[in-house]
Symmetry: C2
Subunit: 88 residues, 2 copies
Amino acid sequence: MESIARHFRLLGEPMRLKILQTVCKTPRTVTEIVTATGATQANVSKHLALLAMAGILTREKDGQCVYYGIKDQLAVRLCELVRSQLAE
Amino acid sequence: MESIARHFRLLGEPMRLKILQTVCKTPRTVTEIVTATGATQANVSKHLALLAMAGILTREKDGQCVYYGIKDQLAVRLCELVRSQLAE
DNA sequence: TTGATATATTCTTAAATAGTTATATGTTCA
DNA sequence: TGAACATATAACTATTTAAGAATATATCAA
């Protein structure tokens, strides 16, 4: 029960939803995500760490860049579900 | 985006998930929910108010009792989705 | 009415955490 | 090597909020 709640809590932050939206099509570097979301680099980095640790995002280092992408497709589906529900 | 996040945030509390679990089959009174969850009456009452205000629960008064039930079936489906995902 | 029961609300405290700033670590290239 | 760039982390502040305690409100029954 606690783990389900933790999962939802991670999706309960607008900034993290923005991040998910940014990487949902294809993996992006931290810098790309920073510019896409308009948040500070430190802030984005922390959110990314949380999402990756929870198994929602993948993390892949390439040179000096780090690519984050969707690992748990469920998270995206959940967002779409809620979005379509709210659209009604 | 903010409203999607708010929706998820509501599901991001173990106590509220317990409440949803308690009322997901049939509406229950506050007292029933209190005993089922083991929380205090004040605490349950506050969570119920939040869930009802968000349109996730219905609220129906009958005499001195108040029945809360599922209004937004999506919330239950989301919980089931995450639950089954975590079960893997 | 009075007392018992059911629910809601107010006030307070404690804990969690999002965001900022500054700095550290790591990588590439000249 | 050193400078520029990319990412992560640490320390701090401020905000949110869950929970508890006490009380208020409402309903029923004798």
